[in-house]
Symmetry: C2
């Protein structure tokens, strides 16, 4: 006999996890489609050359890579962005731009496993390609907002910044050549705090003066632990930036445009301007954002993204700017589970019909009733075997069902059922099928 | 620059394919859930030992197998049945039986590519595990019927047989030791015809007499090309089997039960009893079935399956009988496409709002209108850039859109839009948003 086991770092998804996961996915898909994003899919396997591209050492080590039967060097995708770049390059002439796509699919990374990290996990990406307009930035952010509203995981905040502002500040301070270092260090401010950030910046050779100037520009100081600006503070900061960087500084005007739109739409409370958000060493070049569920900030950002100048540089001469984001599906699911919001049920079944007789006429009665219930929108099961009453109850309970319908000889003769709510213990006798439908639909 | 290309035998799914594919999947999921099937997922990668099990030479050659970073011998799943067997063995004590699961996911086989065959394709499996009852067989068949009704791919027929009947016939003829050979040869009857089947049976050493007897039992003769029995013929054949095999022959009684139920339910026309269906060398042990869309029989079976005695034998001592089926998603999609039933659209967008001005107030007007339309169930896009009219039309047309909404200064001032139907050319001026919603919803 072979021992049944999954690989280290992998996991099965049982119904009690898969049902809420699919519900989140479905809700997000509806939102994506309401904004005009269309679904695509790409192969799980690609040429390694395509996936590794310029090849970062980190990815190199994590990728599942091997030779196929034709001795091709192939690998499992480790994200959905590289395949998207290949996809857009390959199908450039077939696509209409701006091309808005979403892609929800698993990716694989052989990284060291730790709590909550898996070697196979879902990504849920949506991007607008072929537009540099701030309107596209605005729409990605509105999509995120609507996504959170649909998922209903709790109050949330979407933190926004624009990397170009840091660029401008560094230019102003004549240290634009230090961009990468400074970005990398500021990105750590939530982990190590303001003072440590200044220390590390000093170690790179920057003068205290320059550091102070940059931090002031960014509204970062040692008295804050949360650097996000909300409401009025946002527009004050923008005014300050305009004074410091000039009235015509485009990144500032774009942020102003976005936040003014939120204000007019009455949704400003869901957004913050956060000069400390940089998205580390990612490939973003403009707006960047991270989102948190307010009573579960510790779970980290559950939706992040930003704007990039050119997606397809590695594979094509066509320049394709874009803006995109990604919901952290597994993280969101863990968070919702942590909040006790997941009904731990092995099934989506609304009603189980007991089996009291294996006579053809009884089975037919149960089946016809099930058909009627299904046609009226209920999910219905029938017990296949005639078992002891108590066992049929036990099974229903173990499965997490709420309602069971019971019909013996007398009920069948009269085309009726007894309905029992297992959770409350309430039993109602001799109901019509219509009454049962109303009870179950009314309470759901 | 790296040439952007997918691997041989793989393909991208563009929106115009992915949209109808997702629609079919969604419809099938709703049907599965209405019968109480719950979704599960398993890892794409498993230990090779688990996937290959007893190891058939064919699978061995096709499987994508390699060593991971920890030197484990692992492989990509080539079907969803082996992972299901592993899953049920591993989680046996957590599951409530009968366990009804569906699983829609890609599998990988490095087989030689031919037209319509890919190395990555979706399987769409649903199984009832832990019941030997004919009620479970009946329910799988009803699920298939409801699935076809939901997909709406055209009239269909579900061919049913029970392998145990062939067993009984061979026992009666004292040639039960030839079961495998005979099954394999009869399975070819649609390809090579009745006479060739008899010839091949003779080559295995069977006498002409025995062959004639078996073929008579099975109602197969040289004058038919379609061996499916429908309506009254079914019950005549069952009566004949009862005379030949005895009134108490359980497989015959079970077929009778199933077809009598279909008759009483008024759905008999969708089912045939087909003694020529064997499902080849698959692991089935009882009922087997194949389904065809009547005006596209050439596409082959689009939903097949059957009953098996024990799913988990390789991994566990627990005996788990079951019955299951699988919709051929890619085949169904190709078939529906062949029928010209697929709207070749790159988007599910109902309405595109033109951009006539990049003024903040105009953009805000477009965005607020889009929000209102979305809240009322429409999928809506906004053009991000102010472009020439003719270009905005061209893009809308290329994308396959039907409606565009246009608002210049005058319309914006009056909170109105002009609505143009690109396909018919009809334009209606100065409509309220509510009027637009009614027009689009009414026509959809």
């Amino acid at each position: 006999m072979i021992e049944p086991r999954v690989l280290k770092g992998f996991r099965d998804c049982l119904p009690q996890t898969m049902i809420p996961k699919k519900e989140i996915i479905y809700k997000l898909e509806k939102i994506f489609e309401s904004f005009g994003f269309a679904p695509i899919d790409t192969p799980a396997l690609e040429y390694t050359e395509i996936l590794l591209g310029k090849g970062s050492g980190e990815t190199d080590k994590q990728i599942y890579r091997f030779l196929d039967h034709g001795n091709r060097d192939i690998a499992l995708r480790f994200d959905l962005t590289v395949p998207l770049a290949r996809f857009v390059s390959e199908h450039y002439s077939e696509l209409v731009f701006p091309f808005k796509r979403y892609h929800i699919a698993p990716v694989w990374r052989g990284e060291n496993t730790q709590k909550g990290r898996y070697r196979e996990f879902y990504q849920c990406d949506f991007d607008i390609l072929g537009s540099s307009s701030v309107n596209a930035d605005l729409e990605i952010l509105l999509t995120i907002k609507n996504g959170f509203d649909a998922i209903n995981a709790g109050d949330y905040i979407i933190n926004i910044n624009n990397r170009k502002i840091l660029n401008l500040i560094l230019e102003k301070n004549k240290i634009e050549d230090r961009y990468k270092d400074i970005l990398r260090i500021i990105d750590k401010i939530y982990k190590i705090g303001y003072l440590k950030v200044c220390e590390e910046l000093e170690q790179t050779g920057l003068t205290k003066e320059k550091i102070k100037s940059v931090m002031d520009f960014l509204n970062l100081d040692e008295y804050s632990t949360n650097f996000a600006l909300s409401g009025k503070e946002i527009f004050n900061f923008i005014d300050k930036l305009k004074i410091n960087l000039g009235e015509e500084a485009n990144p500032v005007l774009e942020l102003e445009f976005i936040f003014k739109a939120f204000e007019k739409m009455g949704i400003l409370e869901r957004f913050a301007l956060n000069p400390a958000i940089t998205r580390g060493l990612d490939y973003y070049t403009g707006i960047v954002f991270e989102s948190f569920i307010l009573d579960r900030v510790g779970f980290g950002s559950v939706c992040s993204g930003g704007r990039y100048d050119n997606l397809t540089g590695l594979y094509s001469k066509n320049v394709v700017p874009g803006v995109g984001a990604s919901f952290g599906l597994d993280r969101l699911l863990a968070l919702i589970e942590d909040k006790g919001k997941i009904k731990n049920s092995q099934t989506k079944t609304d009603l189980l019909i007991f089996n009291l007789s294996e006579e053809f006429e009884s089975i037919l009665f149960y089946q016809e009733a099930a058909r009627f219930f299904r046609e009226n929108g209920l999910n219905v099961e029938i017990n296949y075997e005639k078992q002891k009453f108590v066992n049929q109850f036990k099974n229903a309970e173990r499965k997490g069902l709420e309602y069971v319908a019971i019909a013996g000889e007398e009920e069948i003769k009269n085309n009726k059922f007894n309905l029992k709510n297992i959770k409350t213990g309430v039993e109602q006798k001799f109901l019509t099928k219509e009454q049962i439908i109303n009870i179950i639909k009314g309470i759901r």
